[in-house]
Symmetry: C2
Subunit: 117 residues, 2 copies
């Protein structure tokens, strides 16, 4: 119970700081950053969207629109999956990789600063 409150406080503290800095310096929300991060890790793989739902903690609809926004910004491309035409690959673009690379130091710095109590 005290554990839960501490978890809440910790999460809020880190998340707010991340949100602020990532938005300010790189025009990225936390969820956008994390999606990009996961996409960069799994580069040439299965029908990502479905898997991303598990990685990023988010509903399927929210993810669909998140990918939509990233696509509009040119950071991600949608490619339909030839083996199963229901599936959609979300593939990170060069621009996406660059934006991610720019944001990573900020991300790490904020974690460093806020996670160690």
């Amino acid at each position: 119970m005290g554990e839960w409150r501490e978890l809440l406080a910790r999460h809020a503290r880190v998340n707010e700081a991340l949100e602020r800095e990532l938005e300010r310096h790189h025009r990225l929300s936390v969820t956008e950053f994390e999606a990009l991060q996961h996409l960069a890790e799994n580069d040439v793989d299965g029908c990502r969207l479905q898997q991303l739902v598990d990685d990023v903690h988010m509903s399927q609809s929210a993810l669909s629109r998140l990918i939509g926004r990233l696509t509009d910004e040119g950071l991600v491309e949608r490619r339909s999956c030839t083996s199963d035409r229901r599936g959609i690959f979300a593939v990170i673009t060069d621009a996406g990789r660059q934006r991610l690379a720019e944001a990573k130091p900020t991300h790490e710095a904020v974690l460093e600063r806020t996670l160690r109590d």
Copy 2:
């Protein structure tokens, strides 16, 4: 970094379960429950709204509307502060205390179940 992902996952897991069960059984969101909880703890005190902003992790505007919803449901009353007429007391009502008491077992059960990995 792995620590952050674990924090995210943990928070999401507990929060989603809480949200689902509290909503389903008691028509309360997690934030509503927590606001009630804090109000029940500090019963006769200062100009609460301002302090609640610190306790509940939420913007001032979000809190203002949260109290609005709780007030509409009769779980909370707004009382203007006589010593500083800008301030507003949010006071939990009997109905609020009862609703909170009903929800508490659910809340604890979910924590019990989801927090121990």
